[in-house]
């Protein structure tokens, strides 16, 4: 689905963040989440609530299982199966995905662009309508039109009882293309290595920066600083400072540790600091509550 040079697009990011934010708050009650761009295709969500940090490996596994809707590797064609009884988690997810499907899947990803791409979609619908779809897709000009046609073709009236049809099938396709995939190993293992915020992505050179949720719709991965751009900025700063007086006594290292705030990392560092501040405030609030209960003054 993703080409090798695929970079996390703004629409996908927005959809992923909105979806996971909602689910992690509403279903699990998570409060302190830091969203960090991975540097290429993904986003990391750091959940820092104290109670969550103490959860066992089994419960973490369970959370990932709960949040997994798209299952199967390259050899599995149909990766989403919904039952008649729709769990509120699924209906919430579909409501959000509906907002983004057209822009992301039909325009941006163009999933019904040509025969090669629409054959993949055909693998997800009953064989009985394949011929019909193949013929009629030729007559349409873009993914949007083809999708509309597809929706009509899979409506219940045209299919036998055994095949899935109608809204359920439509949602399965939408979920398969839009629902985010979680990395189970990172999430469940307590000893698993984690990529720290502000680390450098080995393939793109981009820095894993925290994402400002207030401005998530403006996030553009191509404007995220790379390690080389930061180095250039730091060099430029030290050349400027050389001319100034009174800095000779300070060591080179001290210089650089102040300077990172003058680079384009500054806004991202602010997001991080704000997050830590909120976490700290919350922790202090909890401690106060506890000591009040114990009547420690």
């Amino acid at each position: 689905m993703y080409s090798p040079n695929y970079v996390l697009g703004p629409i996908k990011l927005l959809e992923t963040v909105e979806l996971l934010f909602l689910l992690s708050s509403e279903d699990f009650g998570f409060k302190h989440r830091l969203w960090v761009y991975s540097g290429r295709r993904g986003v990391h969500c750091w959940v820092c609530d104290e109670s969550v940090r103490k959860l066992s490996s089994a419960v973490r596994s369970g959370i990932v299982e709960y949040l997994s809707l798209v299952k199967g590797g390259q050899d599995v064609k149909k990766k989403v199966h919904l039952s008649e009884k729709i769990h509120p988690f699924v209906s919430k997810s579909i409501n959000i995905i509906k907002k983004y499907f057209e822009e992301y899947a039909l325009v941006d990803q163009d999933i019904l662009e040509n025969k090669e791409s629409w054959d993949k979609i055909l693998a997800l619908v009953p064989e009985t309508i394949h011929e019909n779809l193949q013929q009629n897709f030729q007559k349409h000009h873009n993914s949007l039109q083809r999708w509309e046609y597809l929706k009509k073709a899979i409506s219940c009236q045209d299919n036998t009882k055994n095949d899935k049809c109608g809204p359920l099938l439509e949602w399965e396709i939408m979920l398969q293309y839009c629902f985010p995939r979680l990395d189970i190993n990172v999430s469940k293992g307590i000893n698993h290595l984690l990529k720290s915020p502000f680390s450098v992505h080995p393939k793109t050179g981009r820095i894993s920066v925290p994402i400002d949720l207030q401005k998530v719709d403006q996030f553009d991965p191509f404007t995220v600083p790379t390690i080389s751009s930061i180095c250039h900025e730091l060099d430029a700063i030290s050349i400027n400072d050389e001319g100034k007086e009174g800095n000779e006594a300070e060591s080179d290292i001290k210089h650089r540790t102040r300077d990172y705030k003058k680079t384009s990392l500054a806004p991202y560092i602010k997001v991080f600091e704000q997050f830590l501040e909120n976490l700290d405030k919350s922790r202090k609030g909890e401690l106060l509550k506890k000591s009040d209960l114990q009547k420690d003054f």
Binding site: E26, D27, F28, G29, F30, L55, S56, A58, V59, S61, G62, I63, E65, Y66, K85, I86, H87, P88, F89, V90, S91
Partner: protein, 267 residues
């Protein structure tokens, strides 16, 4: 636990105190018994409980658990052997005491190997499941509190607000509104309902799982299994260390006897 060789010593409690000891017809066996009993009673209690657990096993093989013939036959067996099973009966103290003490005696016997432990846990779980299934609804909350599961039943109002979500999430409910109206729903921290939420078989909201009574049983049984497993593992260690101690004692006695013959080379 102490046992005297000769006369039978029995704790004499007044009626109220006896009820406080055993408030329910079923329990998690969290506290070991602390009274003195005779060796004869010790033996009899053990034998009776083994008979009961064997009956549980056989009935589980011959009938589908939870169905009518299984339930009534199991009740008969329990009644025959004079163990506790039902609330609100007269003179429940003796059967409950018997249940309590005999369980702990069998723990010592069945902790010795993996196979024995597995068998024991399975039958005890089936027994608990049966007893829980006939527990009156108004007694459930108290029982849960006594076994330290702080699961609260939600009010009818809270239930009706979440009715569509709960019905859509719980496979154990058929989907009818009337069924939900009659069923209690419990609000528990999501981490306590692992088997339910990981398969999306329960409604989650704000970090809590809204679990219908039918599904609470599974959670209660899991808790029971976990606790019993742990206890048996500890008891196995205790038994091993007792065994070693008695082996050492034998060696030391032998050593003393042989000292005069100067056989220190044996050691």
């Amino acid at each position: 636990m102490q046992f005297s060789g000769g006369k039978r010593k029995k704790l004499r409690l007044t009626g109220d105190q006896r009820n406080v000891c055993y408030p329910h017809s079923l329990q998690f066996y969290l506290e070991p018994p602390s009274e003195s009993i005779s060796l004869i009673e010790f033996e009899n209690l053990a034998i009776d409980r083994v008979k009961l657990l064997k009956a549980v096993e056989n009935l589980g093989v011959s009938y589908v658990k939870g169905t009518e013939p299984y339930q009534s036959k199991l009740e008969n067996e329990i009644r025959k052997l004079k163990f506790s099973f039902r609330e609100n009966l007269e003179n429940e103290y003796e059967p409950r005491r018997k249940d309590h003490i005999s369980h702990f005696i069998l723990r010592l016997a069945y902790c010795q190997s993996e196979d024995l432990r597995r068998w024991f846990i399975q039958q005890e779980m089936d027994l608990l499941r049966f007893r829980f299934s006939i527990l009156p609804k108004d007694k459930i909350q108290n029982f849960l509190k006594d076994i330290h599961l702080h699961f609260e039943a939600i009010s009818d109002e809270e239930k009706s607000v979440r009715e569509p979500e709960i019905l859509a999430s719980s496979p154990s409910l058929s989907g009818s509104k009337t069924e939900l109206e009659l069923e209690s729903v419990y609000k528990i921290p999501f981490a306590d309902a692992l088997d339910l939420f990981r398969g999306r078989k329960v409604y989650l909201e704000g970090g809590f799982a809204y679990v219908p009574l039918k599904d609470i049983v599974a959670i209660v049984l899991n808790e029971f299994r976990a606790k019993l497993s742990k206890a048996l593992a500890k008891e196995e260690e205790l038994c091993i260390s007792l065994l070693l101690t008695s082996m050492c004692a034998d060696i030391w006695i032998l050593a003393n006897l042989l000292e005069h013959k100067d056989c220190k080379s044996l050691f």
